[in-house]
């Protein structure tokens, strides 16, 4: 890859930092049927992505509308004893950083 291609090739262009098509940060999904509003996920989230909503006694967790998205640390997933939160994938990036190919999302396997 020469200087020209790193500077001008469309395939290797630098992603736009605030364009979600170029830099997409996963947003965790909360299953509201399983969530019991224990608040642990909102507490443990380092990126401050989760919040509680709803009436007292019936509170549930959700992703904040204003958040930039999560850092895929998966701590909320790992701490939820009800299995209400889906594991989040690594951020997806386009252009120069997008040359990544991998298989399915899998838990540890013993084979």
């Amino acid at each position: 890859m020469g200087l020209f291609s790193t500077l001008f090739s469309k395939e290797d262009r630098l992603p736009e930092w605030d364009d979600p098509r170029d830099c997409y940060f996963t947003r965790v999904a909360v299953d509201l049927d399983k969530c019991d509003g224990c608040k642990l996920c909102t507490l443990v989230c380092p990126a401050n992505v989760l919040e509680l909503f709803g009436d007292k006694g019936k509170k549930k967790a959700r992703v904040k509308e204003s958040s930039r998205g999560c850092i895929s640390c998966n701590n909320c997933y790992a701490i939820c004893s009800n299995g209400a939160i889906a594991a989040s994938e690594a951020p997806r990036l386009a252009g120069y950083y997008g040359h990544v190919k991998h298989g399915a999302f899998q838990p540890p396997r013993t084979f």
Binding site: L43, P46, A87, H102, P107, T110
Partner: protein, 263 residues
């Protein structure tokens, strides 16, 4: 045959030697689908912990996890590491403040997204940011840039109010690629901590401390050592140990004269 001064390669079959010596070791093959070993448990259940209990970690446990670091493999056994242990909340707070301030400065001068689209300021800053991005494609990767912005805006912490911070120093004059050895050393520390019920998190933004003369002097970072990473240690909030899913990277498998692609 005339001696060349170079000793010939050993030609004995190692397994025969083992047997003749009467010391043949037994292969204990782990069956398919066997439960995780304790090491695997530590690897798979480790998360980067960023919320800690206030309780300080006992000194003996910190000493113990540093022992795991000390016994990491390194190139030519050069052991290019040195550790700093910081356990004063005030000092950790000062380190935090300094790194936040550094992020703020960097964000002000680099993050073009803070200006509205179409503005002249955004146009010039974006140009400059992209030149830096080309020169430093790993450091100015969009993910750390986003983290830096979040830190500058107070939405993300650096040392996470951890009771103990371990700073890893690297001997720049180590053999080959001492950066890799430091990585292996840190992994030993982190996994040993996990097996002892402690939570840890790698802190790359700690590098700012190593770039500042006052902090280098205060921490005693002297040539040939360089500050490369920090690891926060503490007792995690809750029990974040459920197994998670991860991406499966490609595996090119060469066997029987064939190449297979596995995931």
């Amino acid at each position: 045959m005339a001696s060349t001064g170079v000793s010939a390669l050993r030609v004995e079959d190692p397994e025969t030697v083992e047997q003749e010596a009467g010391r043949a070791s037994v292969i204990k093959e782990v069956p398919q689908g066997a439960p995780w070993t304790m090491v695997e448990e530590a690897i798979f259940r480790r998360r980067s912990i960023r919320k800690y209990k206030r309780k300080q970690v006992p000194e003996h446990l910190i000493r113990r996890i540093l022992e795991a670091g000390r016994f990491a493999p390194s190139q030519g056994n050069c052991q290019p590491w040195k550790f700093l242990v910081i356990r004063d909340a005030d000092m950790i707070q000062e380190m935090e403040d300094f790194c936040v301030e550094a992020c703020k400065k960097l964000q002000r001068n680099l993050d073009y997204t803070q200006h509205p689209k179409g503005s002249f300021k955004r146009f010039t800053m974006r140009l400059l940011a992209r030149v830096f991005n080309r020169l430093q494609p790993k450091m100015l990767h969009p993910v750390p840039v986003t983290a830096m912005t979040s830190i500058a805006q107070g939405r993300f912490a650096v040392f996470h109010k951890a009771p103990t911070v371990i700073v890893l120093l690297m001997n720049k004059r180590g053999i080959g690629t001492p950066e890799i050895d430091i990585g292996i050393c840190g992994t030993n520390i982190v996994l040993a901590a996990q097996s002892l019920g402690l939570g840890t998190c790698w802190v790359g933004f700690s590098k700012f401390l190593g770039q500042n003369k006052q902090w280098r002097e205060r921490l005693g970072v002297e040539e040939p050592y360089e500050l490369v990473e920090a690891i926060t240690v503490g007792y995690p909030i809750g029990d974040p140990t459920r197994l998670i899913a991860r991406d499966t990277p490609q595996i090119a498998w060469f066997e029987g004269g064939r190449k297979q692609i596995l995931y």
